[in-house]
Symmetry: C2
Subunit: 203 residues, 2 copies
């Protein structure tokens, strides 16, 4: 199926905003890169902000599908699933900075104060993805008898660490620093569930 | 001493960019908010990018002075100093989002690809602050016999976690989520140095 103008604009928004940031990406820029007219843009989106909200939702859907079909869900042990998720996040850190960093983390950083709609679309995306980890974390907490943390809070922390890892990678222009940072997050999860999770880590 | 136009512009840049992001902050905007003329702006800075680099350096200096004089350095034990640093970071999360979030984390997020000079000024600021933690971390690693991590890497991870905590606070429009995230970072440090650091955490 040939992508329509709306899909082209959304895909272009994903790559362009991750490269240039939201404010620096103009409607003209998006139209030129997507190869669509400005008339087509405003047929599909009433404003640049409306495009941003749609792009955040499009991001949630496309990354959601990627994570839903990823192999980390196949592990029998819940802690092994969480660690395999983090290994998958490490695998995804490859190529150019704009190819592995996060659309919504970038947008919310600059646009949180300018648009409640954009901020909230970014919140839905980040917090929604975090929520997909809660069941495994909850199961691991119960299985390994960990106290003092909630599944929601630890799930959010995985996202905070990964978002911060991307910032350091951008600052250093070096993906390896993001890999190293996510390695600390992995170590934290291991330590949290230690020593009872000892055997799970080998599965 | 009355602040001159340059100082006014730098201070205005710190607050405005943290609120609106870098690209959305125009030279006109900065001049109006700082109460200086555009002529004065270009007398002091040859471009908006040059202002950004100077603002990042100004940020490094002002936050550097704050951290250098903070009480966490007074603890006798190196692990206690690291934990007190993290408690200090938690204390700083207060007020409006733009008052506690990070200028250089915000700027590098959007401008990393547009300007090597801005990216590098942000790197100097984030990595430079991280470096101030390395001596305490190195001392704690030695004292408590921890293996598998380097002072540089753990110091950077503290900054990655804190930067990510700010992103989540922006997305949720809620400082409390940042406090909760830095709490996980604190727990990671405790677990890393446990059990030998048990007594230090009570000091």
């Amino acid at each position: 199926m040939k992508p329509n103008a709306r899909d082209k604009l959304l895909d272009t928004a994903l790559s362009t905003i991750r490269k240039k940031g939201y404010s620096a990406t103009s409607v003209d820029d998006l139209c030129a890169r997507a190869g669509v007219t400005k008339g087509a843009f405003f047929h599909h989106f009433k404003s640049k902000d409306a495009l941003a909200v749609a792009a955040a939702d499009h991001w949630s859907q496309s990354t959601g599908a990627l994570f839903a079909s990823a192999p980390y869900h196949d592990r029998a042990d819940p802690l092994a699933r969480i660690l395999a998720y983090l290994d998958f996040r490490i695998e995804l850190v490859a190529g150019e900075i704009e190819e592995f960093t996060c659309l919504v983390g970038t947008m919310v950083q600059e646009a949180y104060g300018a648009s409640d709609e954009i901020r909230d679309a970014c919140r839905r995306s980040i917090f929604g993805h975090a929520a997909t980890l809660e069941a495994d974390i909850g199961e691991a907490i119960e299985k390994y008898g960990v106290s003092g943390i909630t599944p929601e809070s630890l799930a959010l922390y995985t996202q905070a660490s990964i978002q911060g890892a991307f910032i350091l990678a951008k600052a250093k222009n070096d993906p390896d620093v993001a890999v190293d940072m996510i390695g600390h997050l992995r170590r934290y999860v291991e330590l949290l569930f230690k020593p009872k999770g000892e055997e799970a880590r080998k599965k």
